[in-house]
């Protein structure tokens, strides 16, 4: 028993057994947890959300589209549809199915909780944005109406989720859809991104990898059947039209208010240089954004780079009389203007 070879072999077996049980996705424990989740409630609520989505985007919902959205078989989708119908939540139409008023109000409640969670995850945690949606999908089914209202109050009753979707009010009101697809913008026109669709996951991951965010101002450069090319925060981005359709935009008619050249950021400032802040990127959110606002980083603030750390990052800036160090990753999201009203 005390032979080290035996012990090492025993430990190997033990580790293997632990892995089989505890692996986060494929482990026995994780699988059991998934099976034990309240599968029925999840199915119903996800189906209602899908139906509401169709309704909101004015497209027809069918049994196959439900099956596709929930990733279940056609038979299961048909069974689910008839159960929802029996519950009085949906009615058949000529083209497919649609929500009854009761169904619609239930769906809006689920949508509200989902978007509240996304807002919470974006602003109050540091979860990467590709995980907001899936985490909210999981959390939305595990919260009571009272808890949802407490969450909304904690977040200051937000109006939009981080993807730019309106959050339905507790009374079930939701403003009509705004914005047009990116492909409707003509070359040379300015627009602001109002919505980034978070499904399918792979496309959203690609869009967020490009650094696109709701509230970003873009200028269309070229727009053909094969590709859409536009400038965003001084960088040129090229997307395939099928991907670009997941972006909604609103035209900016007063393009003269927007600086024509790409905006410089605080990260580009050299030591000793004084610049004026013109804004903070919308991609900088939650605690970090509030921190910067608290420090007085607002449009019009004069900032001077004083010194860099031994390793080049962070950099210390004089902001309103205080010497404050900021990391490069955040300085990159603070837009500045050079050469104006430079004083001590």
């Amino acid at each position: 028993m005390t032979d080290p070879v035996h012990i090492v072999v025993a430990a190997g077996i033990l580790i293997l057994a632990a892995a089989v049980f505890l692996l986060p996705r494929h482990g026995v424990l994780a699988r059991m947890k998934r099976v034990h989740k309240d599968a029925r409630r999840v199915m119903i609520e996800d189906a209602l959300k899908h139906l509401h989505d169709c309704d909101y985007n004015k497209i027809a919902c069918t049994v196959p589209s439900i099956a596709g959205a929930l990733m279940i078989s056609l038979d299961d989708a048909a069974a689910l549809t008839s159960r929802l119908s029996a519950m009085g939540l949906l009615v058949p139409t000529d083209t497919g199915v649609k929500l009854t008023p009761e169904g619609n109000s239930y769906a809006l409640r689920v949508v509200r909780v989902h978007r509240l969670w996304e807002k919470y995850l974006a602003d109050e945690t540091s979860l990467p944005q590709t995980e907001w949606h899936s985490s909210a999908e999981d959390r939305e089914h595990r919260i009571s109406p009272a808890e949802a209202e407490a969450l909304a109050a904690q977040l200051g009753n937000p109006l939009f989720d981080p993807h730019g979707d309106p959050i339905p009010t507790a009374a079930g009101e939701i403003p009509p859809k705004k914005g047009a697809p990116l492909s409707s913008v003509a070359p040379g026109e300015w627009a602001v991104i109002t919505h980034i669709e978070d499904e399918p996951k792979a496309l959203f991951a690609q869009l967020s990898a490009e650094g696109l965010y709701v509230g970003m101002r873009i200028k269309m450069i070229e727009h053909t059947n094969l590709r859409i090319r536009f400038a965003a925060d001084g960088e040129e981005i090229v997307l395939a039209p099928v991907i670009a359709n997941n972006l909604s935009v609103e035209l900016l008619p007063h393009a003269e208010t927007v600086p024509a050249s790409p905006m410089a950021t605080l990260a580009s400032v050299t030591v000793g240089e004084a610049v004026t802040v013109v804004g903070i990127s919308k991609a900088l959110r939650g605690q970090q954004r509030r921190r910067l606002l608290d420090l007085g980083v607002v449009p019009g603030t004069l900032v001077r780079a004083e010194m860099r750390s031994v390793s080049g990052d962070p950099t210390a800036y004089t902001i309103r009389g205080a010497l404050v160090a900021l990391r490069n990753e955040h300085a990159q999201m603070i837009f500045i203007e050079r050469g104006e009203r430079v004083s001590a």
Partner: protein
């Protein structure tokens, strides 16, 4: 009533119109107004002489070539002052509390007709544990903390955080963790309190959970003693000092490496969702206020930590005495546990005495070695060494300690693993309590307690098997 409703619905519609930028706009407007008012009522002196000194010093301290060497030099000086300066007062306190007061207390209790067991629990258990903690803990803390506070007061420490940030950023942590980590070398409980300067929730939790990887003042003597017995003794005498110091420094650096690795792991797994923000204020330099610093660091840090340690050491002293004096079926509880846990401890490259010592000496790392010695004498039935069952003792000569340990069956592997286990085991109970006070969370307290001990067991296990496979 209609009026109110219409106002509310208008307000509601307007919220959508205004959009989400309202908060930013408001803050901007407040700053604008404040600036306007301030510019009307304040005047500034023309010259800026006061800031040139600070700016020059900043350029020097954050210089690419001087920044780090200067920092390490300063750190080395602080440690040297602490270690060298603490020896004499530690010895003096020990000679008073352990050599003089302890026998007197025993005699007094005996003359008061106290039964032998009460004398044992009170004098040999409770009192001795407290005396030990005070004599080992107080002098280094009373030197280290004021020095640290002086550097903080002067404004140097924020510059250290500024320079170290890029390293900690890569580990998902905050540059200020460099400060709580350094503070942990003095005392982990104080290091945990020092994380208050980190104003981002995620990075603060990381700093709290990993602080235990800083080898604290209570563990340095253990490291030095074991290193000198098992490594210093392997080489010629004139090299022994360097080899011993080298081995201890390697363990301390290993601790820093674990801090960074575990920080990275935490920020990418269980702490991924915690909120995080970074900004680091670099306040202007100012002459340190000596007396005030001395006072606050003594009261805020030294006395509070010492008091907590004493409170926890007292019951532990009683437990240590009791397990070595209560007999069950002819043997003491201590021996029963040691015999029972020996096979398990063997697999870890340790022994039952060490495991028991780490369990009952949880209040303070300072009393681990005295407990190990006492238990070894007890379980190996040595005579002529020590002061009796349940009475902790220390030996002046490292050789004498080595003899006791060899009788207890220690090998080089035991020495290496005790050094590793001393680095990687649960925080002392004072630190655990402080973690709970700081986080107000049972969950994070448990994580901070269990994580290092699991790592310690795994690493000791791996080292033991590797050693036995290679060396035999």
């Amino acid at each position: 009533m209609d009026n109110k409703d219409s106002i509310l619905s208008t307000a509601h519609a307007l919220r959508y119109e205004i959009g989400e930028d309202i908060h930013d706009t408001l803050v901007g407007a407040i700053y604008h107004d404040a600036e306007l008012i301030a510019s009307r009522v304040t005047s500034r002196p023309d010259g800026k002489k006061a800031s040139t000194f600070g700016a020059t010093l900043d350029r020097f301290l954050t210089n690419r070539w001087f920044g780090f060497p200067l920092m390490f030099l300063l750190l080395a000086v602080v440690f040297w002052l602490t270690v060298e300066g603490a020896n004499v007062p530690s010895g003096m306190i020990a000679s008073v509390l352990v050599d003089m007061v302890h026998p007197w207390l025993r005699d007094t209790l005996t003359s008061l007709n106290s039964p032998w067991w009460l004398t044992g629990v009170l004098a040999d258990g409770v009192y001795l544990a407290m005396a030990w903690v005070i004599s080992v803990m107080l002098p280094p803390m009373a030197i280290f903390f004021p020095l640290f506070t002086l550097a903080e007061d002067f404004g140097y420490l924020p510059r250290v955080a500024f320079n170290m940030d890029s390293l900690f950023r890569k580990a998902g942590a905050h540059g200020k963790q460099a400060l709580s980590l350094t503070m942990g070398f003095g005392c982990n409980a104080a290091g945990v309190v020092a994380t208050r300067i980190i104003d981002s929730p995620r990075e603060r939790l990381i700093a709290i959970i990993t602080n235990n990887f800083s080898l604290c003042n209570g563990r340095w003597p253990t490291q030095i003693l074991i290193a000198s017995i098992f490594f210093g003794a392997l080489v010629p005498a004139h090299l022994a000092g360097i080899i011993t110091a080298g081995a201890v420094v390697i363990v301390a650096l290993l601790g820093i490496a674990f801090t960074l690795i575990v920080s990275w792991g935490l920020s990418h797994t269980i702490l991924k969702g915690q909120a995080s923000a970074f900004s680091l204020e670099l306040p202007p330099y100012r002459p340190p206020r000596l007396l005030q610093t001395l006072y606050t660091s003594l009261i805020d840090r030294t006395i509070i930590v010492l008091w907590r340690a004493i409170v926890f050491a007292a019951p532990a002293g009683a437990v240590i005495w009791l397990v070595s004096n209560i007999h069950v079926g002819g043997v003491t509880i201590a021996e029963l546990f040691i015999d029972w846990s020996d096979p398990f401890a063997f697999v870890l490259g340790l022994n039952g005495v060490i495991l028991l010592a780490y369990i009952i000496a949880i209040p303070a790392n300072e009393i681990v070695i005295p407990t190990v010695l006492m238990l070894t004498v007890l379980s190996a039935k040595l005579t002529g060494v020590g002061s009796g069952a349940g009475v902790m003792f220390e030996l002046d000569e490292a050789n004498a300690v080595a003899d006791v340990l060899r009788v207890g069956g220690w090998t080089v592997l035991t020495g290496v693993n005790v050094m590793l286990f001393s680095l990687l085991h649960n925080p002392c109970s004072t630190t655990i309590y402080t973690i709970y006070k700081e986080t107000k969370s049972v969950k994070w307290t448990i994580v901070a307690t269990v994580l290092p001990i699991v790592m310690g067991l795994v690493i000791c296990f791996a080292v033991a098997q590797a050693y036995r496979l290679v060396v035999g």
